[in-house]
């Protein structure tokens, strides 16, 4: 027998790992002071954090909230923050030039906003999704006012289209595309000929309306939310379509998508916003009044849709070809396989990039101050133009920064939660 020949006769049972130091002391020793260099880094970092906060905390903590002007603040104590400007002008930072007696409308819109995104963010509330569907119309009506029927008519028209499609599908014509075309035609006819009469009639019959508020009075954080959220909601589907179009086998569609993406990505957002505010009116027929907020939303949407398309294309490229082949071999059509197999996986891969784009878009809404819309950053200048608050910078920008931080940090946290939830390989 060779001297390395060996047969195990008894199996070794599993045993727990060797004990390491536990508890707070153990953790500190292991993670902060494991070597002299790490100890040095720990102490240095602590010192750095200390000198950063040593001046800031007393400044912020002792800040004045009740002074009437910056001068009064300075007289009280020039070395602490003057948050009185926020106390005096917080309504403006939130609502811009919105009529003061109507502040309840943007507030209610904001409350509804939170309620309407819950069914989208958390699947267990999905049965309330109908509210998310009616929310956009409700928000537009609450913010701008006018007769409720001029908004409701859009929903009625779409419902009519869906209903006619359902009826047609159950009827004799089996072709989906024919039915789709027919129901689109019915909807268009409704909007062209019937909708204005019906709106007038309904407004006369059941007059529900709010005082009209024009777009130039929208401002503050309300405006940031309007532009940001409309942009996010609209750019997502457009981005998906552009990403698919870019990979299409149909050369014309591919060319249009590539051209659009490259053009938009190659142009600064400010340029597009200037086009929206100034140039667009030259191209439209005289007399048409194309709402300025709508114009900005369209530009912001197109801008981030191009970025979104590239992010999603990255996710699509990350999928193995086998996924396409498997879904094709089961007989799924192109759209079925995109919707059920490809997109759920591609979007999951792209979550960090998508959220990155959303956050970027939301912060970019501050650029509208350039075209004299009063978002919080634009309002900071307006507030400083008041002699009482002339010369105040830090306190205003900290407050504005904090508002944006809360929203963006929320998005980032949600995306991490979503990534954990969608993990299926552990």
């Amino acid at each position: 027998m060779k001297n390395y020949a060996y047969v195990r006769e008894k199996s070794i049972p599993p045993s727990p790992p060797p004990l390491i130091e536990v508890g707070v002391i153990g953790w500190i020793r292991q993670n902060l002071f494991s070597s002299w260099f790490n100890s040095f880094l720990t102490l240095f970092s602590l010192y750095f954090i200390f000198i950063c906060l040593i001046d800031f905390i007393p400044w912020a903590w002792g800040g004045h909230w009740n002074a009437k002007s910056l001068r009064e603040c300075m007289d009280l104590d020039p070395n602490v923050a003057c948050f009185s400007v926020l106390a005096a002008r917080w309504e403006q930072l939130l609502f811009g030039l919105y009529p003061a007696d109507q502040y309840w409308r943007p507030t209610l819109t904001f409350v509804f906003l939170i309620l309407s995104i819950i069914p989208i963010l958390f699947p267990k509330f999905f049965r309330y999704f109908w509210f998310s569907v009616i929310y956009p119309g409700l928000a537009i009506w609450l913010l701008w006012g006018g007769s409720i029927w001029s908004i409701a008519i859009i929903y009625i028209g779409v419902l009519l289209g869906v209903a006619s499609f359902t009826v047609l599908s159950k009827g004799v014509i089996r072709s989906t595309s024919v039915n789709l075309t027919l129901s689109v035609v019915i909807t268009l006819l409704f909007f062209l000929f019937l909708s204005s009469t019906l709106t007038g009639f309904l407004s006369y019959l059941i007059p529900i309306s709010l005082p009209f508020v024009e777009s130039l009075r929208m401002g503050g954080f309300t405006l940031s939310l309007i532009v940001g959220i409309s942009g996010i909601v609209a750019s997502f589907p457009i981005g998906i379509l552009l990403a698919l179009g870019r990979q299409s086998n149909l050369p014309i569609i591919k060319m249009i998508c590539v051209g659009f993406i490259e053009f938009i990505r190659g142009v600064p957002l400010i340029t597009l916003l200037f086009v929206a505010s100034v140039l667009l009116n030259y191209f439209l027929p005289p007399g048409t009044n194309f709402d300025i907020v709508l114009r900005v939303v369209i530009m912001v949407t197109l801008f981030s849709a191009a970025y979104m398309a590239e992010v999603i294309r990255g996710g699509l490229a990350g999928l193995p070809l086998g996924q396409h082949e498997a879904s094709a071999s089961l007989g799924l059509t192109y759209w079925q396989s995109q919707r059920l197999i490809i997109m759920p996986q591609a979007l999951k891969i792209s979550i960090p990039g998508i959220v990155n784009t959303f956050i970027g878009l939301f912060k970019d809404t501050t650029l509208v101050s350039i075209i004299s819309l009063r978002d919080p950053v634009g309002l900071a200048s307006t507030i400083r133009a008041d002699t009482k608050w002339n010369g105040i910078y830090w306190e205003l920008y900290i407050a504005i920064g904090l508002m944006f931080f809360i929203v963006c940090f929320g998005m980032s946290q949600y995306s991490q939660y979503l990534e954990r939830k969608l993990q299926t390989d552990k």
Binding site: G322, S329, L330, L332, L340, P344, Q345, T424
Partner: protein, 263 residues
């Protein structure tokens, strides 16, 4: 190679080859760019027949079966599956794909769906089977491949052999009349090859029409009605398994067999 399989006896009671033609391929040619991958392929598969396709890598055997459900497009000649010719007509392609099941080397399960959802997806969306019924069929098929207890797990939590059996179950849920197997055991550990081959043998015993690209010669001897040897995009030799393995005619076949059986 799992030669040990050939020792077992399989039940040939239901393994009848009928006269009905399931697949007819005539003078089919295919190019990848300028590369001529398939040259003048002529093949007739009868309903209930089990065919094993073998050959060196790059011989076009995978491409051949991928042409049958149009994952690859052929440029010349014709392919008729169940009386439907494969043309650019999308309706025909979808019809054929829902009749022909395919299992891949790398399983290609949908990682974001559970085992059960992988199996019910196509019946629900393509066949428009009610969800409850689709689930019943799926459980039946998972039982057939002997992993009903994994129904609510995700593919990433299963072993390779289990994943491949789920992939087979997923295809079977569409109640296909023909099954294509593309090197389904090549990516598996030796210990898992047998469980997948056993599932395939079971299918064969039930009379399924099968075309298998494989190097499992034990499986070929045991199950195949016909073995096809391909090289350089052409069918070089085809025969019943006994004659093919014991008495190969072409020099190319002899060389191939000596290389894969020689060790």
């Amino acid at each position: 190679m799992s030669e040990n399989n050939s020792a077992e006896k399989i039940d040939k009671a239901k393994m009848n080859i009928t006269d009905e033609v399931a697949i007819r391929i005539s003078d089919m040619n295919k190019w990848f760019g300028t590369f001529h991958v398939l040259r003048d392929i002529n093949l007739e598969v009868k309903r209930g027949e089990r065919i094993v396709v073998c050959g060196p890598s790059g011989s076009g055997k995978s491409t051949l079966i991928r042409c049958i459900n149009r994952l690859e497009e052929h440029q010349k000649g014709s392919i008729v599956v169940d009386g439907t010719e494969l043309t650019t007509d999308l309706k025909n392609i979808d019809k054929i794909r829902s009749e022909v099941g395919m299992v891949f080397q790398h399983f290609n399960l949908f990682p974001h769906l559970t085992t059960l959802e992988n199996c019910t997806l196509a019946p629900i969306w393509v066949r428009e089977t009610p969800e409850k019924e689709a689930k019943e069929i799926a459980m039946e098929m998972l039982e057939k491949v002997k992993i009903p207890e994994q129904a609510n797990k995700y593919p990433g939590q299963l072993s390779g052999g289990q994943q491949q059996r789920v992939a087979i179950a997923r295809s079977l849920c569409m109640k296909p009349r023909i099954m294509l197997f593309d090197e389904v055991t090549s990516a598996l550990d030796p210990e898992m090859i047998k469980e997948v081959l056993d599932t395939m043998i079971q299918l064969a015993e039930e009379g399924m029409t099968m075309i298998c690209v494989t190097h499992e010669m034990g499986f070929a001897r045991q199950v195949a009605d016909r073995v096809i040897f391909m090289d350089e995009g052409q069918i070089v030799e085809q025969n019943e398994p006994e004659s093919f393995f014991n008495n190969p005619q072409s020099e190319r076949t002899k060389l191939f067999l000596s290389q894969i059986l020689g060790h």
